[in-house]
């Protein structure tokens, strides 16, 4: 491995300090305001819901956003939890069956005219599955394998 993601706190701090140093010393000519991006997955709006799995969909039904879904029964009604492309696929994928209780953390969004719960983590029993990262990007099976589910190192938290 020749380069690592810089979300590890120490490296990130070092990188930011180095960048600040370079910014001060070296690049007044190229200094540009960095455009502020809008966040698809706004972690400040993240909530956790408890529900019972009523249906497991490996492939989206018509009208749903692409990828895998869990249909949940919750105390406030039914919920469509989107698991993304890899949620139920590949090594280390979420393993769950109808009737099981799950704890899902995510953000509720209106997508293509439909309310969708964009899931980031799913807890089944004591096992927590990460299906998206904190930016809402689907976590691939390869990424799960490479990272060895050591999410603390990747700056992830429940």
């Amino acid at each position: 491995m020749r380069f690592n993601r810089f979300t590890k706190p120490i490296r990130m701090i070092a990188g930011l300090l180095a960048s600040l140093l370079f910014a001060i010393l070296a690049i007044p000519l190229g200094a540009q305001p960095v455009p502020e991006s809008h966040h698809y997955y706004d972690i400040a709006k993240e909530v956790t819901v408890v529900g019972t799995v009523s249906k497991v969909l490996v492939k989206a039904s018509p009208g749903m956003i692409v990828g895998s879904h869990l249909l949940l029964s919750t105390t406030s009604g039914s919920l469509d939890a989107s698991l993304g492309r890899f949620g139920l696929r590949g090594k280390g994928a979420l393993s769950v069956a109808p009737g099981q209780q799950v704890v899902v953390t995510g953000v509720s969004k209106l997508l293509r005219g439909r309310q969708v719960f964009v899931a980031r983590t799913v807890r089944v029993g004591s096992h927590v599955y990460f299906v998206r990262n904190t930016h809402g990007i689907p976590v691939s099976p390869q990424s799960r394998a490479v990272a060895g589910q050591n999410w603390a190192q990747k700056g992830e938290s429940l």
Binding site: M1, M12, G15, A31, E36, H39, A60, H135, G136, V146
Partner: protein
């Protein structure tokens, strides 16, 4: 004289006669002239065969081809960053050798195949890669891997060798990081000097880091190394292939991460760029991580106003974010601000184009055509890096919009697209096409071409298809000159016949930068597919190497 001595004398005499004959003025040259081409692609591979893997992969290389289409030699670097699971990264520092092959092209359409025999048996089919080629002109082709081992989109371009890059360069690359998560980087640098690099790695963004790249002396194929490409946390090993003095293909050759892209000369924009250097443009942007991260594509066009600070722009755009579940309105109004520094390094903030809100911009030489670097017309624009956290891996281009007259979209065109879809259980899996045909002014578009579909997402009956057809009538947008659509809502969708595929109807929007260059986007309201690609106008005739006349229809390749 004994028998042995007589034999030696005979050989010497034969060689002497041969030498004298070759020196005579009427002799046939002993050295067959060859034409050098550089190529690069990125997409998804299925290596090792039968594994069920769907890996990001990148490929860049250079080959020499005789006038009769024989591939004489070459070098390449292949990298899917997944060798731990049976994937392939070419051995470095030498890469793979290309020891033979052939280019077969229809002299009328410019369509055909390029086979590359490599010394790496893990690649292609037993070491032989087949690329589908669609020449736009004599110097430039749209290409896709076409052998069932992988699929991808890229470019093949005439090399000018030797060339010595100098001055300022803008660059972007996209791919996967060591966790096989989406990553894209971009920036500007000067040859022999330093530069500034930006990165969006799986949603973590850092801009404005200084770096000092050093290019080695290229070999006879125009291949060399770039050291000093540092990103937060480490250094990326990078090789490059020269297209010309102002165009270089670049590929990450680390075994655990893979990126590919280009660097282009900036010309006057390396030292004297201003906000006025970015004129009205077409924006084309998509995920360069090929199914990793969130797949998306977007097109737009805008006019700029460089008078205020920051400068502003307004226009329209269409965005299809497949994995995010976001689809912009048709011809959505877009606007925003931008700022360009003297070294061509800048930023742009957009509203109205889905989740695409924050871009870094790196201006290129106003005289350089970044889609077709040997083309002396169609220059200017720049490269784009998406900083939006959910769209990590996003890269794009800005192409000056110089002709929005709809009737100028006319003549013969080469076209390509890179498609990701959820048609089957293989989510975000890729298929690619290259094609050629005619566009009647104000009328119908009719293309015929090659489709690569190793993951059988199109259920076409074969993993490589020839003779696929693409027909429709692009409707000019009466409110936005330069924009076209082919939509099922208007009973005007693009219709395709790809083997036995049931996927035969595509909603499409198109943006015209000039008569010579357009882009098309799959605007899919069923949330199952997205594609983006170019349409580039062909000249009235082609004089290609290996143009051997109309080519007999190759056989489609069935899934083994």
């Amino acid at each position: 004289m004994n028998r042995k001595a007589y034999g030696i004398l005979l050989v010497i005499t034969f060689l002497a006669v041969g030498f004298l004959t070759s020196c005579s003025s009427n002799s046939t040259p002993l050295i067959i002239p060859t034409t050098p081409f550089a190529f690069y692609l990125s997409g998804q591979d299925a290596l090792p065969a039968g594994s069920g893997n769907v890996n990001f992969y990148a490929l860049a290389g250079a080959v020499t081809i005789t006038p009769t289409g024989k591939v004489t030699a070459g070098e390449q670097d292949y990298n899917d960053a997944n060798s731990a699971n049976g994937g392939v990264t070419s051995p470095e520092p030498g890469g793979d050798l290309i020891t033979g092959g052939s280019l077969t092209v229809d002299s009328t359409t410019g369509q055909g195949t390029l086979t590359l025999i490599t010394n790496n048996p893990a690649l292609g089919v037993n070491g032989t890669e087949t690329l589908g080629v669609q020449f736009v002109n004599d110097d430039h082709a749209l290409i896709t891997q076409f052998d069932g081992s992988a699929t991808s989109s890229g470019s093949l371009d005439l090399q000018t060798l030797p060339s010595t890059p100098s001055g300022g360069f803008a660059f972007t690359l996209a791919g996967v990081d060591p966790d096989l998560d989406p990553v894209a980087i971009g920036g500007v640098f000067s040859i022999g000097g330093s530069g500034t690099i930006d990165i969006n790695d799986d949603g973590s963004v850092l801009t404005g880091t200084a770096f000092t790249p050093v290019l080695s002396t290229p070999d006879a194929f125009g291949r060399g190394t770039i050291s000093g490409v540092t990103v937060p946390g480490g250094t990326i090993a990078v090789n490059y292939y020269i297209v010309g003095a102002e165009a270089v293909r670049i590929i990450d050759v680390d075994a655990t991460d893979s990126l590919v892209g280009s660097a282009f000369g900036q010309g006057t924009n390396a030292t004297a760029a201003t906000n006025a250097s970015l004129s009205g443009s077409v924006l084309a942007i998509s995920n360069g991580s090929n199914g990793y991260g969130s797949e998306f594509g977007a097109l737009g066009q805008f006019a700029t106003n460089s008078t205020p600070t920051p400068a502003t722009f307004t226009g329209v755009g269409d965005s299809n974010e497949l994995d995010n579940g976001v689809l912009s309105g048709l011809a959505s109004s877009i606007s925003g601000t931008y700022s360009i520094a003297a070294n061509g390094y800048g930023s742009l903030t957009i509203g109205g184009l889905g989740d695409i809100t924050a871009l870094q911009v790196y201006l290129t030489d106003p005289a350089l055509n970044i889609s077709d670097p040997n083309n002396t017309s169609g220059g200017g624009g720049g490269l784009v890096l998406d900083l939006d956290d959910s769209l990590a891996g996003g890269l794009g281009v800005l192409i000056p919009q110089t002709d929005t007259t709809s009737t100028d979209f006319n003549g013969n065109y080469a076209a390509g697209w890179q498609n990701f879809n959820y048609f089957t259980e293989c989510g975000d899996c890729e298929s690619d096409m290259v094609a050629q045909g005619s566009m009647a002014s104000g009328g119908a578009l009719s293309l015929t071409g090659l489709v690569s579909d190793p993951f059988e997402t199109l259920t076409a009956g074969a993993i490589t298809e020839t003779g696929a057809t693409f027909t429709g009538t692009p409707a000019a947008d009466p409110n936005n000159a330069g924009r076209f659509s082919m939509l099922s809502a208007n009973e005007n969708e693009l219709t395709t016949v790809i083997g036995t595929s049931e996927w035969s109807s595509w909603d499409v929007v198109m943006y015209q930068a000039s008569a010579g260059q357009l882009f098309w986007l799959n605007y899919d309201d069923t949330d199952t597919s997205v594609f983006l690609g170019p349409l580039e106008q062909q000249p009235s005739s082609l004089t290609l190497p290996a143009a051997i006349g109309p080519v007999a229809k190759p056989q489609t390749r069935q899934k083994p």
